[in-house]
Amino acid sequence: MRNPRKFAYTIITTILITLIALLFLFPLVWMIASSLKPEAQIYNNMDNIKAFLPSFHINQWGTAYQSLLARFNILGFIINSLIYAFGVTAGSIIVNSLAGYGFSKFTFKGQKFVFGLLIATLVIPGETIIIQKFQIVKLLGIINTPWAVIFPSIAAPFYIYMFKNFFDAISSDVIESAEMEGAGTFTIYWKIMMPMAKPAMATVGTLSFIGSWNDYIWPLMVLTDSNKFPLQVAITNINSTAPVYMNQVMAILTISTIPLIIVYLFFQRYLVQGLGVAGNGDK
């Protein structure tokens, strides 16, 4: 070692930082490990290092998952979550890109006013008006249907703004030459604008998927039939349906986190483009 002092410093800081990293990891490691062992072992191991290790018998790993699947319609909840999340994602990409296109590539009377109004709605805190939103959904007669979960989450001023910005950067020459060749406005949107806006689509898509997958309060309000629950609502339901087995709860927590891990792994760079926008907890 050329510089023993520096070497010692690196070792000490690395150990310290590893401890901090473990502080962030331990709940998740504990969650997964606990889902991979029989109920009794969780309580027996709680005060030693084995708490963070799965059962030593690999054939016991599936026990909690098997009983969970036998007791609850987990596959159904997963399918519900996927339907809602993909519905919101597809709707969000289409509706918001259409509006972004409308604001970007057309000039019309009242354009500035309508766009200003849209931007102004960004300040309305949606969390405070859920009760009145619920009234609207009730009035529309779509309570306890997938539409009640999907429709209210589709349009978002911020995503419209994002698409508009992206379309603004596409030169008008492209559009004019397409028009010369007789392409209608929708053809231009579908064949020229959207293929060029793939990064914006990916960003909006990723953010809406995660937002919808994680949504808890709204589906809880508008769905009365537990067969229609998405995973997030099912979790708390399972956690309060007696008898509650801790290893099964940990299994459902793990199951509902896996799709998010996949999304983060594949779409992380699109998420960074939306950074600082979605805020902290509620992504």
Binding site: I124, I131, G276
Partner: protein
């Protein structure tokens, strides 16, 4: 030619219409409804008895001890979660911004809680913080410390929620800080080093000032988001014990949805909604983000 152009431009409304319709239904109209309902005694189960009662809901609200408790609780939450979460995020960003062995492992570890949803976080921590059989108390006892009541103690419950909220969100803000740190030109540090500035001086005179816009943005968005706290207390404590974790948004939900007092809940929505809008406008002013910038 002008006619063709006008005809083309009129098509714009077709593209904007779906978004406008959805926003009107689920944002504009609910916001307007909340103002209208707030002036009535609307009870969800007896809509035919709805009467205009003026400002009575607002007057009752000002005299409602639970509302003021919820305001006090959210004040406590914001006051503590801000420095803890943002400070942690900055510390983590500084850690992973330096080249060191296992850097990717650290970055992934710090970010890992972000991947978990709030519902999952809340249920998971329910088991970690459980007073009798929870993981944390088992570890505390093992270390020779006293077990803590945490979620069942009116004094500790909010702090438990503050802790897990910071744990969950810090990794996300770490990424934003990291982006800010990586925008600082390295030449500045080298020049300062040549001038004999110590590590601490370099942090104080280069890193902090250049990180100011990022920090302001993170601080203000955290501040506003913190006011919307609901899922953690809803899942973990149902606002208890003794209303010590009830928050305004949760109280609105409970009054309007569980108790079906739509008029009263609407008055609360209006007051609290305007408070958040006010904070948001102040935030825009501070961070210099105009209306046509981002949210």
């Amino acid at each position: 030619m002008n006619n063709i152009l006008a005809k083309r431009n009129n098509q714009a409304w077709w593209y904007i219409f779906p978004a406008l319709l959805l926003l009107a239904l689920f944002l504009f109209i609910p916001a307007l409804l909340s103002i209208y309902y707030s002036l009535t005694n609307y009870y969800m189960l007896a809509p035919q008895d709805r009467q205009f009662i003026g400002l009575l809901n607002y007057i009752n609200l000002l005299k409602d001890p639970v509302f003021w408790t919820s305001v006090k609780n959210i004040g406590q939450f914001v006051l503590f979660v801000m420095p803890i979460q943002v400070g942690t995020a900055l510390g983590l960003a500084l850690i992973v911004n330096r080249k060191r062995p296992w850097n990717t492992f650290f970055k992934v570890s710090f970010f890992a809680p972000v991947v978990v949803s709030l519902a999952v976080t809340s249920v998971l921590w329910l088991y970690i913080l459980n007073p009798d059989q929870g993981l944390l108390n088992n570890l505390l006892v093992k270390l020779g410390l006293h077990a803590q009541p945490l979620l069942t103690s009116p004094k500790q419950a909010m702090f438990a929620i503050i802790g897990l909220s910071a744990w969950q969100g810090a990794g996300y803000q770490m990424l934003i800080f990291l982006a800010g740190l990586q925008n600082i030109p390295t030449e500045l540090y080298e020049a300062a080093r040549i001038d004999g500035a110590s590590k601490w001086e370099r942090f104080l005179h280069i890193t902090l000032p250049l990180l100011k816009p990022t920090s302001l943005m993170i601080l203000t968005t955290t501040f506003i988001d913190a006011f919307k706290l609901i899922i953690q207390p809803m899942v973990m404590t149902q606002g208890g014990p003794l209303n010590s974790t009830i928050t305004p948004v949760y109280y609105i939900y409970r009054t309007g949805f569980t108790d079906r007092q739509l008029g009263y809940a609407s008055a609360m929505s209006v007051i609290y909604g305007f408070a958040i809008i006010l904070f948001t406008l102040i935030q825009r002013k501070i961070t210099g983000a105009g209306g046509d910038q981002n949210a």
